[in-house]
């Protein structure tokens, strides 16, 4: 018997007697129901409880209407304040109180639909091992009611009169292909007077970010280390659409000085059924995690029956990022800061002076990219020569979070996050240059090494620059993760006469136009200097924007598409000191920003 047949026989003998438990079918059914039930909004009784520092968008139902604090920012209708319904649906965690159609625009995840369900969960000793064991309570809650495993629980924090266990910024279902389950949950326990007599756990949801057109909710961060805190005060705006019934939405900020409610109302909006309503508020964030602060956007109950009504959340806009400009008043502004790699660490640098503001990571970091919201840097952290994690750290400062753990025998590279929070990165075996591009559960193989990757601003495609860098060819392919399609290689701009060119960097402008850097040489004349240029692939055809003396190794385009941050080097494999970060503007030449840095990216 040959080896293959023998192996077949062994594998079958090993597992063919396994009979799955019949309880598996029940678990599948329960899981389906939990997933359906997630698309129901939660009543706001939770918000009225302890409600610590929350940020951006939340679906909590408001029961109180404080006229004195209402900011008359948006016109309000005269929708009556609903009375709670006396007949709550059956309070079973596996029950379902609303019919949800598959295409309903409801991206937010929340398990409870009535106050009674919350009370029952909190009173049920089997809901968590101990009223004092917040870690277990969080994990059990998330596992039971959100059906998610692999939850990261943040360290216990404390605020006046309570303790809380925030779940870290992202809960990602163990199947990354799940679209909707991205939220942060916080369990809060009131002391009820003293730490020795804690009250029941109260569940609040902390959901920040934006809902994309395909109902993927992107999370920013919990308020404690939210970058927006650093740029407070902010003017925050958004819209809310009432899906099936009219709703009232209230914007609040938590305020520990108000002993009665714990929050202040900043503004509200009313949306009639099927219609959208804008809301806006001026918010001052509080940076101290031991003192609470932040923004709560509360979705209300339907005026008809007081039950949670579904709303669709649209992106929340914060104040625009800071910019600076040259002293010449005719010059365009450019982002005030950028990130780059310096001697194995990622730092934040001042664009005007080139000086380092601070380090963002420890050593072993590389391949930084800035998230579309400008708040985080996603990067590779080498654990050792054949193990690398993908991490994320806030530009405002804070501890890094592991987004993807290391894969045995492989090295990760070039992580990038799309507008929708989708992570793409390269992964190759340590002993091979053949890199796979991974986006969620999808894998796209390349037969070459991966030099650079860039998401389109609409988050629908990725450009991957592949090739045996600098001594062979390279090509740019564009991948569409949604349908798994891959384009043919992008045709390079026509090379200068008698020369050959290859791409060395790629990025997209905010309008979705591809920009590349190329180096061109004369065949059989390596002694001649190379021509280096930046090409923009306009719809009418590629257009050379800038010619540069040295080879461009990295390229990042700012949102205005007028400032290009590049790294140039006089030779391949030069020492770090030979690398120069330059700011290029078509028609204005280049400005040297800093030396000895690589892989720069605008921090905007």
């Amino acid at each position: 018997m040959n080896h293959e047949d023998k192996l077949r026989q062994i594998l079958r003998a090993e597992v063919d007697t396994i009979e799955p438990s019949p309880a598996g079918w029940d678990r599948i059914k329960d899981g389906v129901v939990v997933r359906r039930r997630r698309r129901v909004w939660q009543r706001s009784a939770l918000a009225a409880a302890t409600a610590l520092s929350l940020v951006a968008v939340i679906a909590l139902v408001v029961n109180r209407d404080d006229e004195s604090n209402r900011a008359n920012i948006v016109p309000a209708t005269d929708a009556p304040t609903p009375e709670p319904s006396p007949s709550d649906p059956a309070p079973s965690p596996t029950g379902q109180s609303a019919s949800i159609a598959a295409d309903d625009p409801l991206p937010i995840v929340w398990p409870f639909s009535t106050r009674r369900q919350i009370d029952q969960w909190q009173a049920n000793p089997s809901s968590h091992a101990s009223l004092r064991d917040g870690d277990t309570a969080v994990r059990e809650f998330v596992k039971t009611y959100l059906g998610l495993s692999g939850v990261d629980v943040g360290p216990a924090g404390a605020a006046a009169g309570s303790q809380y266990y925030p779940v870290t910024r992202r809960i990602v279902a163990s199947d990354p292909s799940t679209e909707i389950t991205i939220c942060t949950v916080q369990l809060t326990q009131n002391y009820g007077g003293s730490p020795s007599s804690p009250g029941p756990w109260v569940v609040t949801s902390v959901i920040g970010g934006e809902a994309g057109s395909d109902n993927v909710l992107t999370i920013t961060s919990p308020v404690f280390d939210d970058v927006h805190v650093a740029t407070s005060p902010l003017h925050v705006t958004g819209t809310v659409k009432a899906v099936d019934e009219s709703v009232r939405v209230e914007v609040r900020t938590t305020d520990p000085s108000t002993t009665t409610k714990g929050y202040r109302t900043l503004g509200e909006a009313h949306a009639m059924a099927g219609m959208e309503a804008p809301w806006a508020a001026d918010v001052t964030f509080v940076a101290d995690p031991k003192s609470v602060g932040g923004v709560v956007l509360a979705g209300t109950a339907s005026p008809a029956d007081g039950l949670p009504s579904r709303i669709a959340v649209t992106p929340i806009a914060f104040a625009s990022s800071k910019t600076t400009s040259d002293s010449d008043s005719s010059a365009a502004s450019y982002p005030a800061q950028f990130v780059a790699v310096e001697k194995g660490r990622i730092g934040l640098y001042d664009t005007k002076t080139g000086t380092r503001v601070r380090y963002l990571t420890e050593t072993g970091a590389s391949d930084p990219s800035v998230t579309p919201d400008g708040a985080f840097v996603v990067y590779v952290h080498m654990l050792h020569e054949c193990a690398a994690e993908i991490r994320k750290v806030a530009i405002a400062g804070g501890s890094p979070v592991v987004l993807e753990p290391s894969v045995s025998g492989h090295v990760a590279s070039l992580p990038g996050v799309s507008k929708y929070g989708e992570l793409a990165y390269g992964l190759r075996p340590c002993d091979s240059y053949e890199t796979e591009i991974i986006v969620g559960t999808q894998h796209f193989t390349t037969s070459e090494s991966l030099i650079e990757m860039a998401w389109t601003p609409d988050g629908r495609r990725i450009a991957a620059l592949t090739g045996t860098c600098c001594d062979g060819g390279s090509e740019i392919i564009v991948i569409s993760p949604s349908d798994g399609k891959r384009s043919d290689a992008v045709d390079n701009a026509p090379p200068p006469d008698g020369q050959s060119c290859m791409s060395t960097a790629v990025d997209y402008t905010s309008s979705g136009t591809m920009v590349t850097a190329e180096t061109c040489w004369t065949e059989d004349r390596p002694d001649l200097p190379r021509a280096n240029r930046v090409i923009r692939y306009d719809p009418a055809g590629p257009r050379v924007l800038i010619d540069v003396a040295e080879e461009i190794e990295d390229l990042d385009v700012d949102r205005s598409a007028q400032q290009f941050l590049v790294v140039t080097t006089p030779c391949t494999n030069c020492a770090d000191e030979a690398y120069t970060v330059r700011r290029l503007r078509p028609g204005s030449g280049s400005v040297t920003v800093a030396r000895g840095l690589t892989q720069p990216a605008w921090a905007e």
């Binding site: 080896h3 192996l7 003998a13 090993e14 396994i18 029950g95 799940t178």
Partner: protein, 176 residues
């Protein structure tokens, strides 16, 4: 799924429910067995497959085809198994495989210690090689189907199979 208290399933969800039942009956057992070879404990294997079915149901409106659904299930099982293996800090207790109730004479005649050696070597293979080997020699999938389940090219499948089989051959020689 249909008939839950208070629920009025739409036509779309009724399709998904029916598909779920059919796929469960036809493929659940084999997928659990496949997962048991990728992981090393039955509990995790069942959970991984159950989660895959739940996820498939959720995405039914995009699939709408039992063949696509089966491919999706396989791919999800492979990916989730890989994620599980990565997240393990300490190797779980390995329960010995149960003895068959009615083993064939050929199975009984096999040296169980040497068989265990092959399985142990399988567990030590890099994830991609183990997946390719299991999908090919247990699942009997074609190269194309393996590529789809693993999300790699056909060329990569060949490489992983070649390397995986080479790594196991020393142990297989002992069982010939």
């Amino acid at each position: 799924m249909a008939g839950e208290a208070g629920a009025a399933p739409s036509a779309g969800s009724a399709d998904a429910d029916e598909a779920l039942v059919g796929l469960y009956r036809a493929h659940y057992r084999s997928l659990v067995r496949l997962a048991a070879l990728l992981l090393d404990d039955l509990g995790s294997s069942e959970e991984v497959v159950q989660d895959a079915f739940i996820s498939m149901h959720l995405g039914w409106r995009r699939l709408r085809d039992p063949e696509k659904a089966l491919a999706y299930l396989r791919q999800t099982v492979v990916n989730r198994s890989r994620s599980r293996m990565r997240r393990r800090v300490v190797a779980a207790k390995h329960e010995p495989a149960p003895m068959p109730d009615a083993a064939s004479a050929e199975v009984l005649a096999m040296d169980l210690v040497e068989r265990a050696s092959v399985i142990a070597a399988l567990r030590l293979l890099p994830d991609r090689q183990r997946e390719a080997v299991v999908l090919r020699y247990y699942g009997d999938l074609s190269e194309n189907d393996i590529a789809r389940a693993m999300g790699v090219s056909n060329g990569a499948v060949k490489t992983h199979l070649h390397r995986g089989l080479a790594a196991l051959s020393r142990h297989l020689e002992g069982t010939s």
